[in-house]
């Protein structure tokens, strides 16, 4: 495997720090910084500033404003009566049309919960029903 130059490595360092490089890139950077003082110093600098940068963006979003945004979106969505756009949406619709025993709901919801969270539009459309289902299940 051909070793990469400092220039190539240096450009990749921010993504080495955030852990998003490919396996090959990661191995190249790790091997290079183990040997190269200059690149290692650059890497240390990035590691030092990573935490304060993340802290800077930790401020929570204003709750009142989030609620306003949420309400406006719900209003806009209420005007749009399209069918659910995803697998999760279809699944939820089936659950809602043909209620299942409540002890099933917990496992069904836990199974699709991650998908629901990923699919923001579905989450919003079914927010009230999801909350009701969770309450019933509990």
């Amino acid at each position: 495997m051909k070793e990469w130059e400092c220039g190539e490595i240096d450009l990749l360092l921010p993504w080495y720090v955030n852990g998003s490089l490919t396996q090959e890139e990661n191995a190249q950077v790790a091997a290079h910084v183990a040997e190269c003082v200059s690149c290692r110093n650059q890497l240390i600098q990035l590691v030092l500033i990573e935490k304060p940068i993340q802290e800077y963006w930790k401020h929570p979003i204003d709750e009142e404003q989030t609620a306003d945004v949420f309400d406006s979106i719900m209003t806009a969505i209420g005007l749009n009566q399209g069918s659910p756009s995803s697998f999760t949406g279809h699944l939820l619709e089936e659950i809602l049309q043909d209620p299942v025993p409540s002890h099933w709901l917990t496992s069904i919801l836990s199974f699709i919960w991650d998908e629901i969270l990923k699919d923001t539009a579905v989450l919003w459309k079914y927010k009230a029903q999801i909350q009701r289902l969770i309450q019933e299940a509990i």
Partner: protein, 161 residues
């Protein structure tokens, strides 16, 4: 939830809170209406941030005709201001605690803050960032290089004042 990254992204570029709020709403309505067009090729987060970027561009297009917000020219500002006297690692370690990050971040261009946010906070790959910004991955790498140099210069200035 996606509201946090979308709100952060929009506010990086749009100062007036009411305007930013409007754009965030537009982003989420677009997500809802475009949900069927999500191909699954990129992560949901990248797809949503791509929509956010286009909505921010629409905002500036409406506000200033022919606005060039996020063009190569605006990114070059960071490159021009590239630092000559780079702080050493030892210095950075000593002064990074003293830096007032709120002020430091405001001294960076919105484009620089965006790049820092997408990589250091959201942990996106350079490929994902390139897809969001509709440029080549190499462009993202070199832009980030320039942003890092600027950031280190500001850290040194802020930490020593």
């Amino acid at each position: 939830m996606l509201i946090q990254p979308v709100s952060h992204y929009v506010r990086i570029h749009i100062g007036p809170p009411e305007d930013a709020k409007d754009v965030v709403q537009e982003v989420f309505i677009a997500i809802w209406r475009g949900a069927d067009s999500y191909s699954g090729q990129s992560s949901v987060l990248s797809w949503v941030l791509g929509i956010s970027r286009r909505k921010v561009a629409d905002y500036y297009r409406k506000k200033y005709r022919n606005a060039q917000w996020m063009t190569r020219e605006s990114m070059d500002d960071d490159r021009i201001m590239e630092v000559k006297d780079e702080a050493s690692t030892k210095e950075i370690a000593q002064i990074v605690q003293k830096v007032y990050w709120e002020r430091l971040m405001q001294r960076l261009s919105p484009q620089a803050r965006e790049l820092i946010y997408l990589s250091f906070v959201l942990g996106l790959t350079y490929g994902e960032i390139a897809a969001i910004q509709e440029v080549r991955p190499g462009t993202i790498k070199s832009r980030m290089y320039a942003v890092r140099k600027k950031l280190m210069k500001l850290i040194r200035e802020e930490g020593l004042t």
